[in-house]
């Protein structure tokens, strides 16, 4: 094919910045106090200005996909917990959803309710921690993160009484959930949810009008909407640029149809918008929880026809995705009719959201790089898998 036949591709590339002085190369990471784990950025600096930035991944590449292709479908479920280890419930759900698509399994209504409730609780604790970590990186050492973790512990207690584990819940199954809610769980959950608005108010009182936060985050790390769409950015990062794309509304998976909630959108696509959106999404999640908890119906929690053991879907493939707290989390499965998936692929939102890290950081001060990176909200377990 000759190049002349091609239409104008309108390629999105990071701009080239001409340095004025000598370049200084800095390797930030993989052991760096601010990089949320083992991540490296090779940064070229001209004075304080960032001229080039290359992320280096793979320090937590744990071969999740390879291991999953060697074992049965069900055996991969606990591994999905360890992808984004803040949000094991949503990871479980994404994987279960993909398998349900592949094999055509129905989910009973009670299980759908439990899934929504656990997913929204997960979203709240993830966003709270993300805000806390962002503030940590801004120099507010401790306080916001401690507040966030105080609330997170309550939610983890709920998860623990439900699934037996604080973080690695391994709770969902193809066609439903593993165990039913323990006695009194809903009351306990209602109580905790009732306390959440107060926590969000408290966080906002501390942060939203804070001058240091505004000075350091407004207009910093701006992302354009067209670039965000082209680069496959999803989740809060995308919506902060003003693009209305929330899979809970778009795909209407599960029973999200039946709840009233709004999708907050940003205007500027800067760090402040991302912070603000996380806070607003927590409020919306509380709304969903308030609707879901009283309405939860009785019934089975697992499709009686689903056979988790000896599960062999027909040959074919399926791609299932959900709106995880970090963005679109998808699973792509190819079955060849045997008990193990032929191909098992995780679409990691954290990794793909980092595509535009360089674009956002170019021309900014090196001190802001850490902030911009923190505002993306990634988890290395998912980036590297």
């Amino acid at each position: 094919m000759s190049a002349t036949e091609l239409p104008d591709l309108n390629t999105f590339l990071p701009p080239m910045i001409e340095p004025e002085g000598d370049l200084l190369e800095v390797a930030m990471g993989p052991h760096h106090p601010s990089t949320h784990g083992v991540f490296r950025m090779d940064v070229a600096l001209d004075g304080e200005r960032v001229i080039r930035l290359k992320p280096v991944f793979g320090y937590l590449h744990r071969n999740h996909e390879k291991i999953a292709e060697k074992t049965t479908y069900l055996a991969s479920m606990p591994y999905t917990d360890r992808l984004d280890y803040f949000c094991s419930m949503t990871n479980n759900w994404a994987y279960a959803l993909a398998v349900e698509k592949l094999a055509g399994i129905e989910v009973p209504e009670r299980a759908e309710y439990i899934r929504v409730i656990t997913a929204e609780l997960t979203r709240i604790q993830n966003h709270a921690s993300a805000v806390g970590f962002l503030m940590q990186e801004m120099g507010a050492s401790g306080t916001p993160l401690m507040y966030a973790f105080r609330e997170r512990e309550k939610i983890l207690d709920l998860f623990e009484s439900l699934s037996g584990s604080r973080m690695m819940c391994n709770y969902m199954r193809f066609g439903g959930c593993r165990v039913d809610l323990p006695a009194g769980w809903i009351e306990q959950a209602k109580q905790i949810v009732a306390g959440l608005p107060q926590f969000i108010d408290e966080t906002e009182a501390l942060l939203t009008g804070n001058e240091i936060l505004m000075a350091r985050s407004q207009g910093v790390g701006v992302l354009r909407p067209d670039l965000a769409v082209n680069a496959g950015v999803t989740g809060v990062m995308l919506r902060a640029t003003g693009v209305n794309y929330d899979l809970r509304k778009v795909d209407r998976y599960g029973i999200y149809d039946s709840f009233q909630f709004r999708v907050p959108l940003g205007d500027h696509g800067d760090i402040y918008d991302r912070y603000m959106l996380r806070v607003l999404e927590m409020r919306e999640s509380v709304k969903i929880l308030e609707q879901a908890l009283p309405r939860i119906p009785a019934g089975p929690i697992l499709d009686p026809k689903s056979r988790p053991r000896g599960f062999r879907p027909k040959p074919g493939e399926a791609y299932g995705r959900i709106e995880a707290p970090k963005g679109e989390l998808g699973f792509y499965l190819i079955s060849d009719g045997s008990g193990n998936p032929y191909r098992y692929r995780v679409r990691p939102p954290s990794l793909i959201n980092l595509t535009i890290l360089e674009d956002m950081c170019l021309g900014q001060n090196v001190a802001d790089v850490v902030l911009i990176f923190g505002s993306v909200d990634i988890v290395l377990g998912e980036v590297d898998r």
Binding site: H31, V38, L60
Partner: protein, 219 residues
């Protein structure tokens, strides 16, 4: 320092009741050390989140004098290997360990750090960090609960308190001969080179009876 005569614990308590505090240099020295273990701020994977949770208000690691997480290995006494060590990361972990000043301790937190854990079959996963550096306390769990990490701290404190300052078993920082640098593995074409440091991770003795085999040989 000669071997110190052992104090009768009962006697110590009796004297303490009278307002006389008796101690040994050894005890005093270790008491100071064990209550100010500064860990390195160094998280690898999921277990790191539980480590962070341990430092937060609910579990409050500060009660053990260990809340000061230092970003620099030069200022840290303790390295908590909190998570999966991949082969790509292992050289960096060993290098960080080499940069720490003695006395230094290592807690291997979680199944991954101990043996590779759930990811043991992975091609890029190191099957246990004790292949390259000596580990003082192992905590099983995936992830270990914060209580388990606190238990590991207390175990480490007990270990520090029991260290004699002289003799064969003295800690490395009082032993001029002790090995200080650990070889850093280099990434190779298929695997790390060397895949294991035999000085810290010796092979178990072979099951085959060698002396019997040797006795047969000359005939």
């Amino acid at each position: 320092m000669a071997a110190e005569p052992e104090l009768q614990p009962d006697l110590k308590i009796e004297l303490g009741k009278q307002g006389v505090f008796v101690t040994t240099l050894n005890e005093l020295y270790n008491w100071g050390r064990k209550n100010s273990v500064w860990p390195m701020q160094f998280g690898l994977a999921c277990c790191a989140i539980e480590m962070i949770a341990t430092t937060m208000a609910r579990y409050d690691l500060a009660r053990f004098g260990a809340e000061v997480f230092r970003p620099s290995p030069r200022q840290a006494d303790l390295m908590i290997i909190s998570g999966t060590v991949t082969k790509k990361m292992a050289p960096q972990v060993v290098r960080l360990y080499n940069q720490m000043a003695e006395p230094r301790y290592v807690i291997a937190m979680g199944a991954c750090a101990i043996s590779g854990g759930p990811f043991k079959q992975g091609y890029n996963v190191l099957k246990g960090i004790d292949r390259y550096i000596p580990v003082d306390v192992h905590i099983p769990g995936c992830p270990p609960r914060p209580e388990a990490l606190i238990h590991a701290f207390m175990t480490l404190q007990k270990k520090i308190a029991a260290q004699p300052l002289t003799g064969e078993d003295r800690p490395r920082h009082l032993d001029a001969e002790a090995q200080g640098e650990f070889p850093v593995p280099v990434p190779g074409a298929h695997d790390l080179e060397p895949p294991v440091n035999r000085l810290v991770w010796p092979l178990p003795a072979p099951a085959t009876d060698l002396t019997a085999a040797a006795a047969k040989e000359p005939a």
